[in-house]
């Protein structure tokens, strides 16, 4: 039988607020594109006159996508109430001249977000009543207009109140239609700047919004590697206005990532780690939190939330690794710690005093050795050994920068006193 070359398609839009908009009809020209797509599969065609083709549902969808200007991923073709499989050949469908196909263009609101970096469509609605029947009085002209509330006035036809109405902007993924946070620091590299890590000129790139230079940019691959490494090293820091974040990779630059959503680019595993660490840092920032002092554990938790017995004998219990330690000095212990009575030993900075306590047994000796060569991180109290000669240390456990001489967090004063002098 002769293959039909055209078929009538009725297109509907399927949206969250279903039912809006009338269906429209187009004539789908079936053979266009199909021959271009799969010339290798055309050998079993018996009709020499028509172009060699095995048209499938997929090729038909691709053609339709071109004709109506919608992404092919969002189109569903339906015949006799069934969603057609992409690999089905049109021949197998036995389309006749009078058959009408149905197509849905789905905005996949109810589906899974695609989880990828995609272009977004800027959408707006009324900030008060959420209606999208609105007209803007002025166009947004900057990121601030779009991201900050009450910047752009609108006329809202659904609002009952007379108070001035404002636009609320949001972004939809062009691919999956999900509402997604905009990554305003992923920008077109219009100045053709080199990635400050790998030196390639790539597009788009991460812009750290640097006060020093607009050319401090980083390609996406390098950003993912850089941020992932900083995360594993606990080099993220709490910064004003940006939360738990990292700075520009250029030396001495104050630029940074100002919105944590950018760390979604690292993938789910790293993003979870990011959120976990950020929560820990907030626990500590509250003043009531502690870090487990066991090297490699480093869990952060609130003291009062974990251990009632601790209130009696001053012992804390790590909810993650089960270590029990003194609430005051963070030394591992199962019984009430003697640290308040032996403050002198805790401040032991003497070097090479092991010979003096040689007779006191192994325990005393090893304690003294630790006391002599280790000091505790002033933030998480993990014992730290100085492995090189200078005073500025970075804690492997909690990321604190601290001073070996002052035993406090590293300050500008330390920088001045022990570095440049």
């Amino acid at each position: 039988m002769a293959a039909v070359s055209e078929v009538q398609v009725t297109i509907r839009r399927k949206q969250a607020n279903a039912g809006r908009g009338a269906p429209r009809s187009v004539v789908l020209r079936l053979n266009e594109g199909a021959s271009r797509k799969r010339p290798d599969l055309a050998s079993n065609s018996t009709d020499q006159a028509s172009p060699p083709t095995v048209a499938t549902v997929l090729t038909a969808k691709e053609q339709l996508a071109r004709q109506i200007g919608e992404p092919v991923e969002q189109i569903r073709l339906i015949l006799a109430g069934r969603v057609l499989d992409d690999s089905t050949t049109l021949e197998a469908l036995q389309l006749g001249a009078t058959t009408t196909l149905h197509a849905f263009v789905c905005e996949l609101d109810d589906g899974q977000p695609c989880g990828q970096l995609r272009s977004g469509k800027l959408r707006l609605r009324c900030e008060t009543c959420k209606s999208d029947a609105v007209l803007v009085k002025e166009e947004p002209s900057s990121w601030n207009d779009v991201l900050t509330s009450k910047r752009i006035r609108i006329d809202c036809s659904d609002c009952v109140s007379d108070s001035p109405a404002f636009a609320e902007f949001f972004f939809k993924c062009v691919l999956c239609g999900s509402i997604a946070p905009p990554l305003q620091q992923v920008r077109a590299n219009t100045s053709h700047a080199e990635c400050c890590v790998c030196g390639e000129v790539l597009n788009p790139a991460i812009n750290f919004l640097c006060p020093l230079s607009p050319l401090h940019i980083c390609c996406l691959d390098c950003f993912v590697a850089y941020a992932g490494c900083c995360l594993e090293d606990r080099r993220f820091q709490l910064r004003d206005g940006a939360g738990y974040t990292i700075g520009c990779p250029m030396a001495g630059c104050a630029g940074m990532i100002v919105d944590g959503h950018h760390f979604h680019l690292l993938g789910d595993t790293h993003y979870d780690l990011y959120q976990h660490q950020a929560a820990e840092i907030l626990v500590l920032g509250d003043g009531a939190g502690v870090f487990c002092p066991r090297v490699g554990c480093g869990a952060a938790f609130f003291l009062d939330a974990v251990d009632d017995a601790g209130a009696v004998n001053g012992v804390a219990l790590c909810p993650e690794c089960g270590l029990t330690f003194c609430r005051e000095c963070h030394q591992e212990t199962t019984v009430k710690c003697q640290c308040d009575q032996s403050a002198g030993r805790q401040n032991n900075e003497a070097v090479g005093c092991s010979s003096e306590v040689g007779a006191d047994g192994d325990l005393m000796r090893s304690l003294t050795t630790i006391g002599a060569t280790c000091k505790k991180c002033p933030r998480c109290k993990v014992p730290t050994e100085r492995n090189s000669g200078c005073a500025h240390l970075s804690c492997r456990q909690c990321g604190a920068q601290w001073c070996w001489l002052c035993e406090t967090l590293w300050t500008d004063e330390c920088q001045w006193n022990h570095w440049f002098d």
Partner: protein
Amino acid sequence: MSNIAFQRLQREFKEVITNAEIAQTGIRLDTSDDTLTKLKGEIKGPPDSPYEGGTFKLDIIIPDNYPFHPPKVSFETKIWHPNISSQTGTICLDILKDQWAASLTLRTVLLSVQSLLAAPEPSDPQDAVVAKQCLTHPQMFTETARLWAQVCADAPGERNSQLYKKLTQLMDMGVGKESALSALSCNSWDVSKATEHLFS
């Protein structure tokens, strides 16, 4: 090694090899294997320092997550300097630790090490013995550092005959050049103290 690291290093090599300014400052970078994880650096001792004209070899180890972690750089050539261990060659330099940034390169590192030779920071010591001498006996420090550069790094110039005599005295007893230098320098060039130090 990651792709990023490999790509970066290839670029950095081109920079060091082609940059004419670097030929002038006396910086070199060589590979010791194809993987680019172990490199050899070389710097010329800067003018107006006790290290002037010496050729100092450096071991450079590139970590897996370079350039997000700093390279590990140490002196292979023995050197007498308050911020460099006279025993192990370990360097105390801010950009090799917490002040490292991914945008810094091996070129910046080598130039910074070179300027550390020109401007020691005895108040932030890597080698306490050297730092103490540098602060309390600057003249002896300069003479010691110069002799080390001449003996270990082929620095030109007249050798301090007094110190060199003491050195040969120890070497005649069968002590290796570097051990003899080290023992004498750590004992304020007192031959009997140094001998005691070596043989007790």
